[in-house]
């Protein structure tokens, strides 16, 4: 949580305001969910509320009772309700063989279904959760026995179990709501048990619980609280699933004659009674209870599906809401049309926008740079500044709802606006990407060799499988991977080995541009330096350019020729490595360097504050808010990149040419900030 939200919460920490903030916090994933998910939840809730209302007030409002078979025409004078009357004004859904009004039966059935559903799920949750807590907390033989019992019960056909239990219970208490609810509910106990027990075990092993225990805290209450917070994400989905299932199980029990005592209105039982009607041409007695079941179960399932969409971050739609981004940008910036095909990649006025509910978020906001063949450019900046988006934009590999504008010329060919087909041909062939997390970037079900064969043959259809494998062996051994590993699966390789495989995959087709996005973040230092050496060695033959995206300045110093510093979607300074490290010009670059540990470090600085919200970027220089040199005009106008040294440029009003006059007498900072400070 950002500190601005924290402070807002602090302001409103009491009463209604706090409550609202809290609710907003809970509703956040809901607001982020796609329209479809929200629609699902609303439609489902609507159905559920409708049925609840029907069940609650229907019996009072409707003219007939569910087990009423005669109407009092005058005091003491009764008239039987006709049997099997088709739907009419008096009986909108007709009447049954027993002379009951079908609609009254359906209403009564709704009441029963909802009560049984509520009871069943509560019973299951109560028993399952407490057993799960106990089992996970106590451990030992009790846990093992409980787990085996629960697994056995879980593996057994639920309906059969429910029948047996209902049958047995029916012998003790006359078959009714409670026996039905219990029979239906028992089936779900293992599900809650599992979830809660596993969480309890996991939480129990957490160090903070041990710490709390050693401090004499009541471990049980801690446990309960933490388990509760962890489980709270799974249980609502489970709950709706079980609720829907409970309705169906109750109906199935009723259908088989193991449900509640007739003539209590129950949909499944009513359908079983109506079977004989249906085959003799009477449709209404079986039709309406069936429709009721389908509708209610659909409603509950819709809620469950929607909640799952909302709760499960993996299913949350990205960029699927809010105004669409325009197809083309209106006007390219001046000077954005430089065409020089001698570069591996040439980027001009690149803007990348994400679709968000209110307005587009510009993660990359007008960036220019070039990389020559054999040259490596380091792209540095804090997380969230748009580095990775920029990297992906170079191969037009953008998330749904995300769009890039400007110009990206790869080996002289414009990529923006290019067809997906052509882009696919370029990806892997002319531009390759090495990712941050080598552990998860290889398909776990494919052998290493298959990755190569697939990739090579996708781009070079004339190469045979055998040849492709030979190529793979070559490039693997070039990367220091024994070629025998070609038949291994990813999980059989170490992290460093996998990253080598990823690099090998990247270079096997000799791309013009190699993008390495934090390639060593997850690796240990020794492997890191080996990998970096390997990458550096690749550039020796001058056939490719390298874009090294990293937040680690050390890596840049080691591998790159030039550096571009990115802040809030823009490049604020770029230049040769030496210049940037020894004499950075932009206050942000200086801050960045000063906050890095190196041999020269005297005092470790940190930049106060946080990067701006890109949804609502501040006017003027985006760093102004945090800049120690900020001047009045800094927040009014955008500084342009201006030359600040030999092939070094910075976007800052401290230097002439940035768009504003530099105030007289101002000495821009210079020298190594690790030594002299910001």
């Amino acid at each position: 949580m950002s500190d601005s939200t924290l402070s807002k919460q602090a302001e409103t920490a009491s009463g209604y305001g706090y409550f609202r903030a809290r609710m907003r916090h809970y509703a956040k994933p809901f607001r982020q969910a796609s329209r479809t998910s929200r629609w699902l939840v609303f439609a489902g809730l609507g159905i559920l509320i409708f049925f609840t209302l029907v069940a609650a007030v229907g019996p009072e409002l409707y003219g007939f009772g569910a087990t009423q078979y005669r109407v009092e025409t005058a005091p003491g004078q009764f008239q039987q309700i006709p049997q099997l009357a088709p739907p009419s004004a008096t009986h909108p859904m007709g009447t049954t063989r027993d002379g009951f009004d079908v609609m009254a039966r359906v209403i009564g059935g709704a009441k029963l279904a909802l009560i049984v559903m509520g009871l069943a799920v509560s019973v299951a949750m109560l028993i399952g959760v407490s057993l799960g807590l106990a089992s996970g907390y106590r451990g030992g033989p009790i846990d093992r026995i409980l787990v085996t019992v629960m697994d056995s019960v879980y593996a057994f056909p639920p309906l059969v179990l429910a029948i047996i239990i209902s049958f047995i219970l029916g012998a003790f208490i006359s078959p009714g709501v409670f026996s039905a609810a219990f029979a239906v509910g028992v089936v779900y106990i293992p599900q809650y048990f599992r979830v809660v027990r596993n969480q309890t075990l996991a939480v129990k092993q957490e160090t903070f619980v041990e710490a709390a225990q050693s401090l004499g805290a009541k471990s049980r209450s801690i446990l309960t609280r933490y388990v509760f917070f962890n489980v709270v994400h799974t249980v609502p989905v489970l709950l709706t699933l079980n609720a829907a299932d409970a309705i169906l199980t109750l109906a199935a029990l009723g259908f088989l004659g193991y449900g509640v005592q007739p003539p209590t209105p129950e949909w499944g039982y009513d359908i079983s009674q109506a079977i004989t009607d249906v085959s003799s041409g009477i449709w209404w007695t079986a039709f309406w209870p069936g429709v009721a079941i389908v509708t209610l179960v659909t409603g509950i399932t819709l809620v469950g599906e929607g909640v799952n969409d909302v709760v499960n971050p993996l299913l949350r739609a990205r960029g699927a809401s809010g105004p669409r981004l325009p197809r083309r940008q209106k006007k390219p910036r001046k000077g954005a049309d430089v065409e020089d095909d001698s570069y591996a990649v040439s980027v001009r006025d690149l803007r990348v926008g994400y679709r968000t509910p209110k307005r587009p978020l510009w993660a990359v906001d007008g960036v220019d740079f070039d990389i020559r063949y054999g040259e490596s450019l380091g792209l540095v900046g804090e997380s969230g500044c748009g580095k990775s988006t920029l990297g992906r934009a170079l191969m037009q590999l953008l998330a749904p709802g995300c769009r890039a504008y400007g110009s990206v010329r790869l080996g002289g060919e414009e990529l923006i606006g290019q067809s997906e087909r052509r882009l696919r041909q370029k990806r892997g062939d002319d531009v390759a990407m090495i990712f941050q997390e080598p552990m998860t970037r290889l398909n776990p079900l494919m052998r290493i060799g298959d990755h190569f064969v697939e990739m090579i043959r996708t781009h070079r259809s004339k190469i045979s499988r055998k040849q492709a494998r030979a190529m793979a062996r070559d490039v693997l051994s070039q990367m220091g991977v024994p070629p025998s590993r070609i038949d291994n699966y990813a999980h059989e390789l170490s992290g460093g080995m996998r990253q080598r495989v990823m690099i090998a995959l990247g270079i096997v087709l000799n791309p013009k541009l190699l993008i390495a996005d934090e390639p060593t973040t997850s690796l240990d230092v020794i492997v890191e330096s080996q990998i970096l050496d390997t990458i550096a060695a690749l550039l020796g033959n001058k056939s490719a350019g390298l874009l090294m995206i990293t937040h680690n300045l050390g890596i840049v110093a080691e591998t790159c020729d030039r550096v571009a510093v990115m802040y809030a979607g823009r490049i604020v300074e770029s230049g040769p490595v030496d210049a940037i490290f020894n004499d950075p010009k932009h206050p942000y670059t200086r801050g960045l360097l000063a906050s890095t540990v190196s041999l020269e470090t005297t005092t470790l600085h940190s930049i106060p504050g946080y990067p701006p919200d890109l949804l609502d970027p501040p006017s003027g220089c985006r760093f102004a808010e945090r800049c120690p040199y900020a001047m009045a005009h800094c927040t009014e106008a955008d500084p342009a990149l201006t030359d600040v040294g030999p092939s070094q440029s910075a976007a800052c009003f401290l230097y002439p040419g940035a768009g504003q006059d530099v105030p007289a007498g101002l000495t821009p900072p210079s020298g190594n900030p690790q030594v002299v400070g910001i």
């Binding site: 012998a171 199935a252 249906v278 085959s279």
Partner: protein
């Protein structure tokens, strides 16, 4: 057997399933004996004078303390002797031999339907995420799950059989063609004996029950496959594959599909239990001479021996099926370690 080998893994799985079987047996035993009423009175109560009934009960050991009955039962069960039911002239083993193939044939056919529907609709819905097809597919999945089996089966039976005469309404095979008994699976038996009319009759009789039962689980699969597909399609290696320029088709069907199916296969194993449970409804609606319906009838007659025998068999079948699923999973997923 070498530790860590597949054989060792299988052995461990089999050994682990023994306590599960024991627990289920105990559970069913306790439940059945907890309730008042006994099979002798239930079946003979209207015919025999009380002293004779008492004698019969004594002879069956029904008057012994429940724990003695329990150990006696478990002892016999371990020897593979599930005793004789009271309401049926066949032995429990014979009943299972007679009825299990029918149920298994139905359940397996239903599973095939479920997998076909679930995978095709689910995968396509995931690929066409948030389009009309996705919404329709999801809704279809929910709707077929929400439709009670006995109700849809009833409607299908009335419309497709009674009105349109497309498919036979009930039973396992039509007219006078019963194939020679080899496996008890009519499809297999009729193929083995080259009895083509019997095969057609079997298949057409199988169609309605298998489709209605299969759709029920198919609805679950549609949702499951879709969600797994969505999650897989957002995984890192899919992103990496796209970055390598692999075609979308290949990405979806070569990379995502197989990976998304692994959790689905695991859950498939669990769905067999659901299918067998719901087979009680199918078999009732379609007069299918299977085990699930027999079980319900035996429960009603409180025929301990038969109920326990069938329950054990069902548990065993589920253990074997889930073992099978594990083996399939191990074959597909190289990461599975034993």
């Amino acid at each position: 057997m070498k530790k860590g080998s597949f054989g060792h893994y299988l052995l461990m799985r089999v050994l682990l399933s023994i306590p599960m079987l024991l627990i289920l047996l105990t559970l069913v035993f306790v439940l059945l004996h907890a309730a008042p009423g006994d099979p002798v009175t239930a079946t003979l109560g209207s015919r025999l004078p009380p002293d004779q009934i008492a004698a019969r009960k004594e002879a069956l050991g029904l008057n012994d303390p429940i724990y003695i009955q329990y150990f006696r039962y478990i002892g016999h069960a371990l020897e593979g002797d599930f005793g004789h039911p009271i309401t049926d002239s066949r032995s429990v083993g014979q009943i299972i031999e007679d009825t299990a193939p029918a149920t298994l044939e139905l359940v397996i056919a239903a599973m095939i339907v479920a997998v076909l529907v679930g995978i095709s609709v689910g995968a396509l819905a995931a690929r066409l995420r948030d389009t009309a097809f996705d919404l329709g597919g999801r809704f279809f999945g929910i709707l077929i799950y929400a439709t009670p089996l006995f109700w849809s089966a009833l409607l299908a039976q009335l419309y497709l059989s009674a009105d349109l005469h497309w498919l036979p309404s009930s039973g396992r095979i039509g007219g006078f063609y019963v194939p020679e008994h080899i496996t008890g699976f009519y499809t297999i038996d009729s193929i083995l004996t080259g009895n083509w009319p019997a095969l057609w009759s079997t298949l057409s009789h199988l169609a309605l029950p298998a489709i209605t039962l299969g759709l029920l689980v198919g609805g679950v699969f549609v949702r499951l496959v879709r969600v797994n597909m969505l999650q897989t399609l957002r995984s890192d290696y899919i992103d990496a594959a796209r970055a390598r320029g692999i075609s979308e088709r290949s990405v979806v069907y070569r990379h995502a599909f197989k990976n998304a199916l692994i959790p689905v296969i695991t859950i498939m194993g669990l769905q067999f239990a659901l299918l067998i449970g719901n087979a009680t409804l199918s078999e009732t609606v379609f007069s299918w001479p299977g085990m699930a319906r027999a079980l319900v009838l035996f429960i009603g007659a409180r025929d301990y021996a038969a109920v326990q025998g069938i329950v054990t068999f069902i548990a065993l079948a589920i253990v074997v099926l889930s073992l099978l699923i594990d083996v399939i999973n191990a074959l597909i997923d190289p990461r599975v370690r034993y």
